[in-house]
């Protein structure tokens, strides 16, 4: 079946440092990868959508300079939170799918970021 693995599951980092998280798709082609953030007590905010061989689309409140994303092939994507501060804490979810327009994404269990 289709599975998505995310790692690390949890990271604690000091304010001003960076954290890289990875997303691995198994059993299907992850043509599209969507990165979401779930802040404490909030719903999921879309950070960016990445489609292989296309430009990465960032949502209004998120930038490539802050959240650089790599999506080099159909099974892997990574995102880094640069210069993390308290407002960046939360659960970062990777959702991958063959066609984002179907809306059906397979999600990993998330990478939880705590910033001290």
């Amino acid at each position: 079946g289709a599975l998505v693995y995310q790692y690390p599951r949890r990271t604690i980092c000091k304010s001003g440092t960076s954290m890289r998280m990875e997303c691995q798709a198994v059993g299907f082609q992850a043509t599209s990868v969507a990165w979401y953030r779930q802040s404490p007590q909030k719903t999921f905010e879309l950070i960016a959508l990445s489609t292989v061989n296309s430009a990465i689309k960032y949502e209004q409140n998120f930038t490539q300079e802050k959240f650089p994303i790599s999506h080099p092939n159909l099974s892997f994507s990574s995102m880094t939170v640069l210069n993390a501060y308290l407002e960046d804490r939360g659960l970062y979810l990777c959702g991958a799918g063959r066609d984002i327009n179907t809306g059906q994404l397979y999600f990993g269990e998330g990478s939880k970021l705590t910033v001290l």
């Binding site: 969507a34 999921f44 879309l46 959508l49 489609t51 959702g95 327009n101 809306g103």
Partner: protein, 113 residues
């Protein structure tokens, strides 16, 4: 712009009772609609989806949802809940062509013994 409203932040029901979690969406076209569930300390799992056709869709673990276009609703139902259904449930809509999934705020379901 599309949006999803889940008016109930928390719902508590007794084990064995029936359940309805409400979801209303705002979207100009014909939406693709989804319900996802987030169990404690886990990511999201797809419960069910609606693209077209029969407005009542069946999902995993006995869940179903009904698309009512006139009401812009996609409520989730279950005839008899189990303690293991305790989780946060998210309704979502896809804007086809815009490649964007919008989630509701979520409803936390607690099952009383």
């Amino acid at each position: 712009a599309q949006s999803v409203t889940q008016p109930d932040a928390r719902v508590t029901v007794s084990e064995g009772a029936s359940l309805q979690l409400r979801c209303k969406y705002s979207y100009s076209g014909t939406p693709y609609l989804f319900w996802y569930v987030q169990y404690p300390r886990q990511g999201l799992q797809l419960l069910l989806k609606y693209y077209s056709g029969d407005p009542v869709v069946q999902g995993v673990n006995g869940f179903e949802a009904e698309f009512i276009k006139s009401n812009s609703s996609f409520h989730l139902r279950k005839a008899s809940v189990h303690w293991s259904d305790s989780a946060v449930y998210f309704c979502a809509v896809v804007n086809y062509g815009n490649e964007k999934i919008t989630f509701g705020a979520g409803t936390k379901l607690t099952i009383k013994p």
